[in-house]
């Protein structure tokens, strides 16, 4: 499954300033591993020691928060767009 990942500015130092990268993965968990494979070191920014996504990070698959889907087990299909967005304040 080829998916497109939108990388937030703070993580672009891992991706040679690329704002978007294409990767193969069938789930969000697999995608996180694939990112680490391509950009060593990025995983420890995204996840804590237990492998859980950090609580101030939001991950969306085609604009839907994965917490409304199947969290890190959310399946990915060809052409899906995944965005990683640090939490922001509101109003």
């Amino acid at each position: 499954m080829a998916v497109q990942v939108l990388i937030p500015t703070p993580l672009q130092k891992f991706t040679n300033d690329e704002a978007s990268v294409d990767l193969e993965a069938a789930s969000v968990d697999e995608l996180l591993q694939a990112m680490e494979g391509r950009f060593p070191g990025i995983l420890s920014r995204l996840c804590d020691e237990s492998g859980k996504l950090r609580r101030f990070l939001n991950v969306y698959v085609n604009s839907e928060d994965i917490r409304f889907l199947n969290h890190q087990a959310t399946a990915l299909a060809d052409g899906d767009e995944v965005s990683i967005v640090p939490a922001v304040a509101g109003g």
Binding site: P10, F56, F68, V85, P86, V88, G90, G91
Partner: protein
């Protein structure tokens, strides 16, 4: 150039956005060249005190404590993605500020400028120092002895507490060299950003959900910014804006300027202390959307205690949400310290944030202070708006209706003691959300310009009023 502009280090990279005009600003180039020198001085507070009127040192991750320069950044990018917060030199503040210096300052948030993260002259549009009303009639109705309304519905220039955060954010945006400012907004923030950007001569492009109340939309458009009405809820607007912020070099008040923006809400804490005669209340009730305002009122109280401006005392913090969007109240009720996001469905659109970034901190404060976080229905919110208007002559929007309805609920549940001095924060103006109450209030008597027509209408009015009394009992 001013010496103080090179102390806190700006971030030149953020400025190369697509729509940024390449207009060099003198201070910016100098600050860039001298940033190395400045970092040498950064730790020596005696030196910085001479160099600068500003009292803030830099940014720090609220989660892991990692330090950052005071540029346009909002998350802990080197370690944990936690939110960044401004760090101050409290010794410098203590040495410069007293009750007397504050009282001699302008009647705006800038009387507290030493506690705010700016270096030079503020954008002062008269924001802040709004009335603190002793609300005796509402207190009697609820069964409280000492109740106050902090009325930011009459804040300047756009009638909500957001003018505080935006005045700070745009002052800082200008200092960091931004020429275009932006925000993701549930309505009030867009009003405020557009208005204060107009005053400061900044380009402005703001984003709102497309289903907002007319007053909120007009109250932005009149300042002639570019307004993007996004088909989606606030959380979707926010996600879009985070992506825009990644690619356009704009100053987003609630994204890359968030550490500065959020500090503006501390002034709601300072003002209440000062207006109560330099003392703390026993209990406060405030609305929660992202949870930022709530946590910053707390920070404001803590800072005044820390520098000796007010005597320490326990203050209970209670938060208000609408049932149709209550992720923080739900987590609080279930004893969780993490938030499960929700999709908002409520008339309280200004506080309809389904994925509140500061939710965990708000829960922590409510727990640690012995407060509560409660939610009320849309019907209760409307009753809250009417109750405040009828008893105190204050017309608030849905967020304020939520606060009053939660205040009432907490008193009824025995969670606010009648003897506690209590402050309810009213954060927005009712004229912006007239749709919410239009079908729940009376109608005018339409009459001829003749005494007879008035006489019979008056009689009808009297009997209607008698009927209301009878049903009230």
């Amino acid at each position: 150039m001013r010496l103080d502009s090179w102390r806190t280090g700006s971030s030149p990279g953020r400025r190369q956005g697509l729509n940024q005009y390449p207009i060099p600003r003198l201070g910016y180039f100098h600050s860039h060249h001298l940033s190395l020198l400045a970092s040498t001085y950064r730790c020596a507070s005696s030196v910085t005190a001479i160099l600068s009127r500003s009292t803030f040192i830099g940014l720090r991750c609220k989660e892991c404590g990692h330090p950052y320069e005071a540029g346009a950044r909002h998350v802990c990018e080197d370690v944990c993605f936690g939110p960044l917060e401004v760090v101050y030199d409290y010794d410098a503040i203590r040495s410069r500020v007293s009750r007397a210096t504050i009282e001699a300052g302008p009647t705006s948030i800038w009387r507290y400028r030493e506690f705010l993260p700016i270096e030079g002259d503020p954008i002062d549009v008269g924001t802040g120092f709004t009335p603190l009303l002793r609300a005796n009639r509402l207190a009697r109705r609820l069964g409280l002895k000492e109740l106050y309304i902090k009325n930011d519905g009459v804040n300047m220039p756009t009638l909500s507490f957001k003018d505080r955060v935006v005045s700070v954010a745009l002052t800082r945006a200008r200092e960091l060299g931004f020429t275009t400012v932006s925000c993701a907004s549930t309505g009030n923030l867009a009003n405020s950003t557009a208005a204060i950007a107009a005053h400061a001569g900044l380009e402005c492009c703001v984003f709102i959900p497309s289903d907002l109340e007319l007053g909120k939309v007009l109250g932005t458009l009149v300042y002639n910014p570019t307004l993007m009405a996004v088909k989606g809820n606030y959380d979707q607007v926010n996600r879009l804006c985070s992506e825009v912020a990644n690619t356009y070099g704009w100053g987003f008040v609630n994204i890359n300027l968030r550490p500065y923006y959020s500090e503006g809400s501390k002034t709601l804490g300072y003002e209440v202390i000062e207006q109560l005669g330099w003392r703390l209340p026993d209990h406060i009730v405030a609305p929660l959307a992202s949870g930022s305002l709530f946590t910053k009122i707390r920070k404001g109280f803590d800072e005044f205690i820390k520098v000796g401006l007010v005597e320490e005392k326990a203050v209970r913090f209670s938060g208000a949400q609408a049932e149709g969007c209550s992720p923080i109240a739900q987590a609080f009720a279930e004893g969780r310290d993490f938030i499960t996001p929700v999709k908002p469905h409520t008339i309280a659109k200004s506080i309809a944030i389904g994925n509140p970034a500061d939710g965990p901190y708000a829960i922590d404060i409510a727990n640690r202070t012995g407060g509560n976080i409660a939610a009320v229905s849309d019907a209760e919110i409307i009753e809250g708006i009417k109750l405040l208007a009828e008893t105190e002559g204050v017309f608030t929007e849905t967020a304020g209706g939520t606060t009053i309805a939660v205040l009432k609920k907490l008193v009824e549940q025995g969670k606010i003691d009648p003897s506690e001095s209590t402050v309810a924060y009213i954060t927005g103006n009712g004229l912006k959300t007239t749709e919410a109450i239009a079908s729940s209030i009376g109608e005018p008597f339409v009459i001829e310009a003749q005494l007879a027509s008035f006489n019979s209408a008056w009689e009808r009015a009297q009997s209607l009023q008698r009927a209301t009394w009878e049903t009230v009992g």
